[in-house]
Symmetry: C2
Subunit: 322 residues, 2 copies
């Protein structure tokens, strides 16, 4: 039996992961606990839902006492909000994660070798900053141009050091921009990448705040959940002391995204996209990664969609007409 | 007049810097304040010496209230000690630095635009970890293999974000291994690189704990002080959003170091070096950087020694026979 804790289990990716783990458990006796500020009505199946805040150390202590085997850490203040609320970004994205590591390390130390969890942390391609090579390879350096990216890069470094010291097994998974996100827009600067597909498919107008030639790196929510499930099946030696991985994805321009939408849904749907340039979004997005050569992740068996049409189809199948 | 604060001003590099700034001030009315746990007797000239601990937030608040124009942040628990005392390493090397940034940022915010200091932080080539390319270039990624390296890499990332947000000007200076350090051995895993030169030149036996073919990257204490002085003369735009720089240095093997010592001081001096392999030191050093192409730093006017003989000569001139 695997005991699985999803910190951030009420969020979009956490829910996708919980659904996936219910459909494809590691073991037929898996117990999944979700921890978050709140949970969607209905929502993914779970053995337990725990309401709490990652800034509450006592909440982590209670979770650590249950000694989960696999811990997913998905909570974050998103990029746009971490820019506008500087202190909140650092508090949640770095300090809470440090507190999490410290609390679970103390549980590991107290166990005298009987407890050693695997920690799968969702990092982001926001750890990279322009200027970029044509494709970012597995040894390109961190030069984040947002607080969110800096916080993710720092979290990777501290987790890697805790892994190196033997407290945990684990890995940081650098997600592409997840698209098409179901539900409402969020405060991520990348939110429009989902919005220009999701809103028109639902008959609603959408705003495109950047130029059509903006190129970016995407994977579906289903791929995100699959990355996270697959990560928990790998053990430390495969990472060769570098347990932080760029995930596979689809590199495409906004124009290519819109053309894929046209092919799937037609001109009338595409006409719901309105161009309203937003200097704040443009300034953030121009420093974002455009394309990757995620050789290490591919060699370790991580897979994503082949093109943006496939990404749209995942949204239609899983969220629009489930 | 420039008001200069050296946090870690009692340490070896801090003292070298204070001596250099006395000999080559930015301005003939410079005021230099040194902050440290303690200071060597005599020591470098300073307008003021403040005794305190970087883990004491109130000490930072008192320093911030004086609104220094240029702040050097040199304090660190060294690599070997940060491995053996895990909590102390994180407390001093990351948490204290975060506290420093937070306190000075609040002073900047309270000043309504009248105060904006320049922060020069000493980072280290320990932010890099093996395997390496033949020469590490300016876009090779952080993969530290020590807690010290992780803490330095994280400190760079947070400083860079505070600079990006406009709270400070500044830069992280990734020092080569400083050699030949005067005085006594310290707990840095790199301490022997100085010891095998310094001790024999003083007629004392020295232990070499690694193989003769170990290659590493060095600069003298004088170069370190010159890097730091030069860094304070540069303004943010030159860094093009990447204010963390690999410094120039000398790449050489231990065998080449010993040969340089033989050329300068003769066979009898070299015979004082005894080989006693130390598995703990070997394990750390094998993951250290060997050679660099520090193009950005060279283009910005940072310079170091040309060969290891010159590095030994700096020690003889400045410390052995000053």
């Amino acid at each position: 039996m695997a005991r699985i804790l999803i910190i951030g289990g009420g969020g979009m990716v956490g829910q996708k992961l919980a659904h996936l783990l219910a459909a494809e458990p590691f073991d037929d006796q898996d117990e999944v606990t979700l921890f978050d500020l709140g949970f969607p009505e209905g929502g993914a199946p779970a053995a337990e839902r725990v309401v709490g805040n990652v800034t509450d150390r006592a909440a982590f202590e209670a979770l650590a006492a249950t000694r989960p085997d696999i811990i997913y850490y998905l909570v974050a203040i998103v990029s746009g909000e971490a820019e506008t609320d500087f202190d909140l970004g650092w508090t949640v994205n770095l300090h809470a994660f440090q507190s999490f590591l410290d609390v679970f390390r103390k549980e590991v130390e107290a166990s005298n070798g009987s407890y050693s969890p695997k920690v799968v942390f969702t990092s982001s391609i926001a750890v990279f900053g322009a200027p970029f090579p044509p494709k970012i390879d597995d040894t390109f350096f961190h030069a984040p141009q947002t607080s969110y990216g800096a916080q993710k890069a720092m979290s990777e470094l501290i987790l890697t050091d805790y892994i190196r010291k033997g407290f945990f097994d684990g890995v940081s998974i650098r997600l592409p921009t997840i698209c098409v996100r179901p539900g409402k827009p969020n405060q991520a600067a990348s939110s429009f990448f989902s919005g220009i597909i999701r809103e028109p498919l639902n008959g609603v107008e959408a705003i495109l705040p950047v130029a059509d030639d903006v190129r970016h790196w995407h994977a579906s929510p289903r791929s995100a959940a699959r990355f996270l499930r697959h990560a928990a099946t790998l053990d430390q030696p495969v990472y060769e002391n570098r347990p932080a991985l760029n995930m596979p994805g689809v590199s495409c321009t906004v124009a290519e995204q819109i053309e894929a939408l046209r092919q799937i849904a037609g001109d009338d749907v595409v006409k719901l996209i309105h161009r309203e340039p937003d200097p704040a979004i443009i300034a953030i997005v121009k420093n974002w990664a455009r394309d990757f050569a995620p050789d290490r992740a591919l060699a370790l068996g991580f897979t994503a969609e082949q093109d943006f049409r496939e990404i749209i189809q995942v949204y239609i199948d899983e969220d629009l007409n489930p």
